[in-house]
């Protein structure tokens, strides 16, 4: 058991830190978040094609770097720190992972090289308007139609769905479980609507599918229930999102501590007051715990991707990481606003951007209480 980054992982992490500090500074974030697209194409090209981040956990045989979830988590943590506006979470963590979990090798060979190169951006749609983030919340319906398939219905809360090139969509085949399809953006009958969101740094959309016709090759994997593959995808994406939140939690802590060291009231830097210091200490306590949770979960996700034994803990690990990191990111971002005082509440200061991202990510893929209940079930309660 080794519970530290390898030298190579550490290098990936440090180069991400340097790149994002430069490329995803507050000005860049504010530029991108104000657009409907939500990201700057040049930045995506550089981090996907240039840095190779979109190839990270794609096996080498499919044009990827052959790395795993630990590297993904290291990147997401750094992205959280800088609130990167880019379709990394949607394309790499959701879309690519879905293909890795659901597709046949032939399909992977056909689809993944373009994704690895960053020239195709994917995403994943599955849930309806309900509150169930599990495969059971899948809302689209599919039916067999000649040789191929027909999809009908709506898919909600699809991250970057309005800009992705390839939509990986889960649909319910009545009586036979779930099927997962790869649907190109231009497919007839598919319409995509951007939905403005409270957190502007990550874009959501609604997809409407009105009698969408797909060939047999659009089905990812075999014609059998893909609920397990979808669940595995969601768990891995959940762990990646948790890691991002751990980055958010750490960053707002550092921002708030720096601010309170500068801000003077009552004749002292407010960082010298116990009320402020102890709040910062609690933030650090939670940030450290969340980082441990995310790293542990990353190891489990890695095993799950490679088919190792510890992968059996995937559901528990995902829920543990999400519950811990979500709560921490929200607590820390809210505490940071409090430590900033009045200015923390202004549009001008950046802390509200982190606060909004923290809230959005807390809800996405299931809030802490939802994940704790999932753990309670795993514990046989």
């Amino acid at each position: 058991m080794e519970f530290r980054f390898t030298d190579e992982q550490q290098m990936i992490r440090e180069s991400a830190e340097a790149f994002l500090r430069e490329q995803s500074d507050p000005a860049a974030v504010r530029r991108a978040m104000a657009t409907e697209q939500g990201f700057e194409a040049a930045l995506w090209d550089e981090l996907a094609g240039g840095m190779g981040w979109s190839a990270m956990h794609i096996p080498e045989e499919f044009g990827g770097l052959g790395l795993g979830a630990v590297e993904l988590v290291a990147l997401m943590e750094e992205m959280g720190k800088r609130l990167l506006c880019a379709p990394f979470f949607s394309s790499v963590c959701l879309g690519t992972t879905a293909i890795l979990c659901a597709a046949t090798n032939a399909q992977k060979a056909a689809i993944l090289p373009d994704i690895a190169a960053g020239s195709v951006r994917a995403t994943l749609g599955w849930m309806g308007e309900g509150r169930d983030w599990s495969p059971a919340g899948t809302s689209l319906a599919c039916t067999r139609h000649g040789d191929g398939w027909r999809l009908q219905g709506e898919s909600h809360y699809v991250v970057d769905g309005h800009t992705a090139d390839l939509l990986v969509l889960a649909a319910r085949l009545p009586g036979e479980g779930i099927r997962v399809f790869a649907v190109p953006a231009g497919t007839a009958g598919l319409s995509r609507e951007w939905l403005p969101t409270m957190d502007q740094t990550r874009k959501l959309s609604k997809l409407s599918l009105d009698g969408v016709q797909l060939g047999s090759d659009a089905l990812l994997g075999l014609d059998q229930d893909a609920a397990e593959a979808l669940q595995k995808t969601l768990d891995i994406a959940t762990i990646a999102l948790a890691a991002e939140q751990s980055g958010v939690a750490q960053q707002v802590l550092e921002m708030a501590v720096a601010y309170t060291k500068e801000r003077h009231q009552f004749g002292r830097a407010i960082a010298s007051f116990q009320a402020i210091k102890h709040k910062a200490a609690d933030m650090m306590l939670k940030a450290e715990a969340s980082r441990s949770a995310a790293y542990y979960a990353a190891c489990v996700a890695d095993e799950a991707l490679r088919g190792g034994a510890a992968g059996a803990e995937l559901a528990q690990a995902a829920s543990l990481a999400k519950a811990s990191c979500s709560e921490t990111a929200f607590f820390n971002a809210g505490s940071a606003i409090q430590m900033y005082g009045g200015v923390g509440f202004t549009w001008e200061y950046d802390v509200h951007l982190y606060f909004k991202r923290a809230r959005a990510s807390e809800a996405f893929l299931g809030a802490p209480a939802w994940h704790r209940e999932r753990i309670a079930q795993e514990l046989g309660l």
Binding site: A34, E36, M127, E129, G130, R131, H156, Y157, W194, L195, P196, T197, M198, D199, Q200, L204, H264, Q265, F266, G267, R268, F273, A275, I276, G334, I337, Q338, G341, G342, G344, F345, T346, W347, E348, H352, F355, K356, R359, A360, A363, F364, A367, A369
Partner: protein
């Protein structure tokens, strides 16, 4: 100790309820349930009209003494007024700073001339007030006021220079009360004056502050030799702190009841959504809704206990915890609203950044624990003034 209102009070309830039913309609219909915290920037002109309609009906400043146009309404009647006003969806009051803060302060500390000149405009809903307390370098540290007031011996005018911040409705108001330093060599609580200043004058610039909601309820107000006319100072130089503290006491008085009724409307909406969208079946949500309901009831009865205390703006020992209590409660309510909405909580009403009422509530409640004294300052006040714990040593 009893819960029932007297027959006379119930008659009063009928009176205000009928008046609201007859008047909060037609042109005023769109104002119902609007203009509350987080929504204060909406319909300002229409709400000014409404303020004057209220005045015409005799429903402004009901707690003031009759000699100043009030009804000398009892605490119970004021409770009833706020209950019915909120039940009817009465809009956020444009005149509440004048009615609840400036007016009572002028009544308590003003000269007869000031009372005669300034109170009628408040009572009539024609002169609106805002407050100039916080400063950029003195957020929660009120005694660190840097705004200066210099007496121009020739004219008898005070000339005010400096900057105030977090002033809500400044761009809609006629008057601002300002705490400023009359003695340039003074520090802390000493050497402050309390000034009543006309806002529409060359020496004053109002600049909206864009908040995290993308809207601008608050303002920065810049004073550059702004004129406070002779006779518009309240009290004497050096009494600013005393008057300001009394005013903060009024702030935590009857107006809290009106605020509670807004809270009740918010909670009701959240409960309604929880019933409709299935969130109400979630055990965690159930617990939190029940907890919010408990908290609001507690606030109501805490306010009632508090109001049975001093009427001079001084706070009973028990009342000191009220601001902290509601601020935390409201912040939790904002988060609860989001969690009840579920995934839908994230979706805004319109591009580019038009938030829903509950989204605004959620974001605005983050300010509740900051303005009017942060939670940290409130805890200091409770510990030092109510519990007699020692002040921290100063460096």
């Amino acid at each position: 100790m009893k819960l029932q209102f007297s027959e006379a009070d119930e008659h009063f309830r009928h009176e205000i309820a009928s008046w609201l039913a007859d008047n909060l309609r037609g042109e005023f219909e769109p104002l119902r349930f609007r203009g509350g915290p987080g929504d204060e920037h909406m319909f300002p002109e229409e709400r000014k009209h409404w303020e004057r309609r209220m005045a015409a009906g005799g429903w402004t400043c009901i707690g003031w003494p009759e000699e100043f146009g009030g009804r000398a309404a009892s605490i119970e009647q004021q409770v009833i007024f706020h209950e019915e006003y909120a039940r009817a969806g009465g809009p956020g009051r444009m005149g509440h700073i004048g009615e609840g803060l400036a007016g009572p302060t002028i009544i308590a500390f003003g000269t007869d001339e000031q009372k005669a000149r300034l109170l009628p405009g408040i009572r009539a809903g024609t002169e609106l007030w805002c407050q100039g307390y916080s400063e950029p370098a003195a957020g929660s540290d009120l005694a660190a006021v840097k705004t200066r007031a210099r007496l121009d011996a020739a004219t008898g005018r005070w000339l005010i220079s400096g900057q105030k911040v977090w002033t809500s409705l400044a761009h809609e108001s006629d008057w601002c009360f300002v705490i400023a330093r009359t003695d340039p060599d003074s520090v802390g609580h000493a050497g402050l004056g309390f000034f009543l200043v006309r806002l529409r004058q060359p020496g004053i610039t109002v600049r909206p502050i864009e908040q995290m909601t993308g809207t601008s309820e608050f303002n920065e107000v810049f004073f550059d030799e702004a004129v406070c006319e002779p006779g518009d100072m309240l009290g004497k130089p050096g009494e600013g702190w005393k008057i300001g503290m009394a005013l903060l006491g009024f702030e935590r008085g009857v107006s809290t009841l009106g605020q509670q009724m807004l809270f009740q409307n918010e909670l009701d909406e959240i409960v309604r959504i929880a019933r409709e969208n299935g969130a109400g079946k979630d055990p965690d949500i159930r617990q939190r809704i029940a907890d919010a309901w408990i908290g609001l009831r507690v606030m109501r009865y805490s306010a009632m206990r508090m109001l049975s205390g001093g009427a001079d703006g001084s706070l009973a020992r028990e009342a000191m915890s009220y601001k902290l209590y509601w601020a935390i409660w409201h912040r939790n309510l904002g988060k609860l609203a989001m969690d009840v909405l579920g995934p839908e909580a994230e979706i805004a009403e319109s591009a580019p950044y038009g938030l829903s009422r509950l989204q605004s509530l959620f974001l605005f409640t983050r300010a509740d624990t900051i303005y009017g004294g942060t939670n940290q300052i409130q805890r200091n006040i409770i510990a030092e003034r109510a519990l007699g714990m020692p002040k921290e040593p100063r460096r």
